[in-house]
Amino acid sequence: MAFAGKVDPTNPQMAKMMEDMQVADMMRLYNDLVARCFRPCVENFRSSHLDSEEEACLEKCAQKFLKLSGRAGMRFAEQTEKMTAPK
């Protein structure tokens, strides 16, 4: 996580808490991503199954979102470090 530097991971209670939060955040990300990509990618309901175009759209949407998350996370880490730098 981009903000892992914010806490003390040597504290075992802290480590446990971070692990729980990471699992919860991963689940949230997964569910949000499905809804976010479903909205623009699946627009017709003439059939009960995804066609190949919809599948490709969902895949590209998820990939783009994760790449954007990573990129934005780098900027986030840099900037929040700057703010808290002069200890």
Binding site: V34, C41, R46, S48, H49, L58, E59
Partner: protein, 80 residues
């Protein structure tokens, strides 16, 4: 046998997390299918035939999208 309380506690938490995951998945599905299938001029309180068909298909497609995106996440995790 002793210490079983602790084990059970962990188990309850894991199951709670799983349940929360399914609840969130279901709630998102309902949100998206309401958006896709129901025009905002509400003419009656029942679902009409067209809406009912749309909801059935929307629910199934949403779950397929869930599987598809799960697979994409896994592929990307391994690729990195």
């Amino acid at each position: 046998f002793f210490g079983g309380g602790r084990q059970q506690q962990v188990n309850v938490e894991a199951q709670a997390q799983e349940l929360r995951f399914y609840m969130s998945m279901y709630n998102h599905m309902v949100d998206e299918c309401f958006l896709k299938c129901i025009p905002t001029k509400f003419k009656e309180g029942d679902l009409n035939a067209g809406e009912t068909t749309c909801v059935d298909r929307c629910a199934i497609k949403f779950l397929e999208a869930h599987t598809k995106i799960g697979a994409t996440l896994q592929k990307m995790n391994q690729g990195m």
